[in-house]
Symmetry: C2
Subunit: 272 residues, 2 copies
DNA sequence: TTGTACGCGTTATCAT
DNA sequence: ATGATAACGCGTACAA
């Protein structure tokens, strides 16, 4: 059978409640009993039951993550970042693919709420307004809540700076990493004699472009689809994940996270 | 406050236990009371509490998934397949990255066990022997347990067949999708006048190869890194996920899954 | 500083 | 077919 707190209490000859206090690090506990309890814990190989704790404390050390499509090229990197931070804090996450279907999305939300998750991460659009628990939005700025996204403006200015005096071509994927970046390029994609043109689509075979020209490919760190010789504009999926986690944790723990949009900077790196 | 079963029971003027029976679809219940209860449920917007259910039933409708690295190129597709099937069955999953560290792996396992997960999926090597709950291994055949993997032999014979009379070059990624496939190619990579050579590494720039030659690139469906004109040998990550889920579900529900290795076939597709 | 006792929301085992 | 009640394992207000 399972080792419970009562077993530990009996072994350490103290009360159940005392064991609970020791485990939760209650300061008002004598070093003597604390040691006795820890000894018994190790002796019996006791492991606290997260389910029971959850029922009693009305929380679960779990957060829910909503994604339109888990197999999107950057999802893995994002989740890796998220997991890295959450696991360090003893928080697990549950993933749900919504496929862009509002009904499915709400159903998934209710299922997770019934599990008493402590927070939500919404990567598939606006958070449901009646979630009732801390939520952060990822990928698009949101008014009146906490959101984290990639700074597209920074990408635009980095490209503009790179373009000084020459022509550069920027390739995004089929669903662009930096949507609407066109509009952010100053002076109608021209400045200082340079020019930037952006293509949302597949990378065409390299044609005979002048050696002065520069090719930039948008990608994530782990995506190997960048041809050699091209500049890379990294979409910081991993960092987006770690930042999401930190923000959500702070929000859950009520550490005074003021609503607002936080951004991560994309990184432009040369082929050399 | 939260709507509980007691609230529903009171509203429907029946006992808590009856509500539970109705909700779980107990056959020996009168249509009359059943209707009363459902009415009250909808009236009050009652949603069962998964935590409480877990405490009482000693299960959680949750499984744990261990991955060495979540950001690996195929992880997203695998997880998409897994989620697709699990969510249809009301099961959620919790993801843990182990980074190949045995200690971290065991810690993660114990954390999940304390959550009373119903099963494990091990993508990062042999299952821990003392997991104590249904486990399946993914990616490598395992003796004495349930495992699912990609049929490398099938990949080898498809390549051999393709090579009849010509020379083909197969490129895998840095960490090969089909490890050890070399050894499975008959006749020392030659047969019927054709030949197969395999490169574990990055795709080199296309040099002047004869038009008779064939290039094959190993990839997953969603990976855009396949140059046009090349054959594709798909590593069926998504299918691996759906199959994993089905096998695990059957094992959990005790549906007589006999230990053994199940395989998924890779798909070779032409560039046309 | 520690013990008592109740609550958390369900399921399951008795009765009836 | 349904009601009463005891688990399930832990947190915590309250008492000591």
């Amino acid at each position: 059978m399972r080792v419970t707190m009562s077993d530990v209490a009996r072994a350490a000859q103290v009360n159940k409640a005392t064991v609970s206090r020791v485990l939760r690090g209650d300061p008002r506990i004598s070093p003597a009993t604390s040691e006795k309890v820890w000894a018994a814990v190790k002796e019996l190989g006791y492991r606290p039951d997260a389910i029971a704790r959850g029922l009693s404390s009305s929380s679960s050390d779990t957060v829910g993550v909503f994604l339109r499509d888990i197999s999107s090229p950057w999802a893995g990197e994002y989740l890796a970042g998220l997991e890295r931070v959450l696991s360090r804090h003893g928080i697990e996450f549950i993933l749900r693919a919504t496929g862009g279907d509002p009904q499915q999305r709400r159903n998934a939300m209710f299922r997770l709420l019934s599990r008493r998750v402590d927070g939500f991460v919404w990567l598939d659009g606006e958070p449901e307004p009646d979630a009732g628990i801390p939520s952060i939005a990822v990928g698009r700025t949101r008014a009146g809540g906490v959101s984290v996204s990639v700074d597209i403006g920074s990408a635009a200015s980095q490209l503009t700076r790179l373009a000084e005096g020459r022509k550069i071509e920027v390739f995004q994927g089929e669903n662009p990493f930096f949507p609407g970046i066109q509009a952010l390029l100053p002076g109608d994609t021209k400045r200082g004699g340079g020019s930037v043109s952006i293509f949302d689509g597949l990378l065409p075979p390299r044609n005979g472009s002048s050696p002065e020209d520069i090719t930039v490919v948008c990608a994530t760190r782990r995506c190997p689809a960048v041809p050699s010789g091209a500049w890379k504009l990294y979409w910081p999926a991993f960092e987006l994940g770690t930042l999401s986690a930190r923000l959500l944790l702070n929000t859950i723990q009520g550490k005074g996270v003021r609503p607002g949009a936080v951004t991560v900077l994309p990184v432009l790196s040369s082929p050399f």
